[in-house]
């Protein structure tokens, strides 16, 4: 507390814990720590027997790279989805967009023999156009973005399957290895970064980068203030000159671009594309955002929170089979974590910010 400000007797000094808890990301960080403790729990038991620990594998270099990569897949989307949700809208079409953009990328390379970078540029252009369309429809028609993007979810998925069938007679495009192998551009998406014993996928760095950029934009730029304003009170924002429509359209384009980025990472990594890629990813991204403290009603949230939300989901997804629990329980656990997380962050926010309703 600085001298000048703490002079004011009306300001109560809050203890640092309370201040920390008032951040939107607090709930997700706590949840991440809990997940870490739960899944490394056998560590205590097997301290005397390192062999057993390695078998469990949660905290081994391989285990860590594993759940970091899984978390990155959700996290790249979640960072963009968080910005959109703070701006007061929803995008259910990101999952379908992963499949669609991935197919655009793969078909451009296999059917039309484009260079990987050109194919990737095409995939991004496609995603940005669809994102623009989403935003334009939502802001022009005034329909809830939930409905508009739900329509786009089905439309994109159906059209991706249909067009891929028409062009290739199949629902998968494989054998891209010959095209992508040795291409430096591809390495930016599919390469591994080796640090000591750890080998981290490029996606992990993309995840960190995207989160950092989202955080910078939101908290340090004028546009970030507009995002908060647009989601917090669109009428008020419009009255003071914020281009609310433009902000929303830009945010829809951002989420679509994040899906295209993930599509590039996936296609380049496994050297194939599948029309069903990315199913339910939109829901996981929303879950990560919400666990990260972002409000469904807009105007409040944090990309840092979404980062930890995604990290926690990644840990859970990998940790559950490692703990010997059948993998199908992941969604059940996800559901519980989501509910508890939202209740927790609601409680924490009310206590922390002291906002009067």
């Amino acid at each position: 507390m600085s001298e000048a400000q703490s002079q004011d007797e009306r300001v109560r000094t809050r203890n640092p814990l309370q201040v920390a808890l008032s951040r939107p990301s607090a709930g997700a960080i706590i949840a991440t720590v809990i997940a870490l403790l739960v899944f490394t729990w056998p560590l205590w038991e097997c301290l005397g027997d390192p062999q057993a620990c390695t078998a469990r594998g949660f905290l081994t270099p391989r285990g860590i790279s594993n759940w970091m990569e899984v978390a990155a897949q959700v996290g790249i989307l979640a960072a963009a989805v968080t910005l959109l949700m703070i701006g007061g809208e929803f995008d259910l079409s990101v999952g379908s967009m992963i499949g669609a953009a991935g197919m655009v990328l793969a078909l451009a390379m296999s059917e039309y023999a484009l260079d990987p970078w050109l194919a990737a540029a095409l995939a991004f252009a496609f995603a940005l156009a669809i994102g623009f369309l989403n935003g334009w429809l939502v802001t022009r028609t005034g329909l809830p973005s939930f409905i508009v993007t739900l329509g786009m979810l089905f439309l994109l998925r159906g059209a991706t399957i249909g067009i891929t069938r028409l062009l290739t007679d199949r629902t998968q495009v494989g054998g891209l290895r010959e095209i992508t192998d040795g291409d430096i551009f591809v390495q930016f998406f599919a390469g591994d970064v080796i640090i000591g014993d750890y080998s981290l996928a490029a996606s992990v760095f993309w995840w960190i980068l995207v989160t950092a950029v989202a955080w910078w934009i939101l908290t340090r730029t004028t546009f970030g203030n507009w995002i908060f304003g647009t989601g917090g009170n669109a009428t008020a924002a419009r009255n003071v000159g914020v281009p609310v429509r433009g902000v929303k359209i830009a945010l829809f384009m951002t989420t679509a671009a994040s899906a295209a980025l993930l599509a590039c990472i996936q296609v380049f990594t496994v050297a194939s594309a599948d029309v069903l890629r990315g199913e339910q990813k939109e829901l996981e991204a929303i879950a990560a955002s919400v666990i990260g403290g972002t409000l469904l009603t807009g105007g409040y949230g944090s990309p840092i929170g979404a980062f930890f939300g995604a990290l926690m989901l990644g840990m859970t997804k990998v940790g559950i089979p490692l703990a010997g629990i059948p993998a199908e329980w992941y969604f059940a656990v996800l559901g519980i974590v989501l509910l508890v997380g939202v209740l927790l962050s609601n409680f924490v926010r009310r206590r922390g910010t002291g906002v009067r309703s």
Partner: protein, 294 residues
Amino acid sequence: MTTATQPTAGAAARPEAPLIEARALTKYFGSVIAIQDISLEVHAGEVVCLLGDNGAGKSTLIKTLSGVHPPDSGEIVLSGETVKLASPRDALHRGIATVYQDLAMCPLMSVSRNFFLGSEPTKGWGPFKRFDNDAADRISREEMHRMGIDLRDTSQAVGTLSGGERQSVAIARAVHFGAKVVILDEPTSALGVKEAAIVLRYVVAAQARGLGIILITHNVNHAYPVGERFVILDRGKQIGTFDKEELPKDELLKLMGGGAELDKLSHELEEYAAEVEQQVAGGGAGNGAGTPAA
């Protein structure tokens, strides 16, 4: 500028043209006459109170003055220049700021972020141009201070402020961004006595800084201490405009229709209370066992 109209007889007495002047404004909504032939003027450093009961046309009048509704007839004159207000934004650019009852703010955003929403100060250049948090904090704190509000912490969410404080942020913001006329729509209606007093103090502070203020209220007790002139509306028509000197408070109450109504109401309430008392006395003896001791 060249089309400046001749000052009317009323304004001629003053050295300067009023900041804002409404001349015979009329607005219809379909077959409904919302306001008819309303005229008022506000000079720099003056508080004009717009009084009237619900449905008197206060809201329609201020929405017309702030560019939301174009008037069906009559004109709006700003510092001697007849203008057509295209939108609230246009009105704002011309120096008319309206602080609405349902405050145009984002409750979960900090005071300083709200203060500068839409007009953010930046530092740096090119891709590194960024929101200048420090400047936003400093300026909003200073502006609030000049209004006589010592803000505790500009990084606190607007939602944590009381209703009166939120009003003050909105007023300070309007002033900072160059408003010459501030229209306050029922700023005290949802507030307790103490809070209302605080807001009225800000009104006086803004007035002292040379702004013209239109204060809309249906509470004579709030209007009378700060107002210099009172425009009274009833059912869309202007009952009259009165200077404070020529109008004692009781008179004002009566004019608003409030005085007579209140007399009647208090009479009715007394009768009702007596009736209830009788019933309780009579009924209580009858089924006294039914209810536990009240």
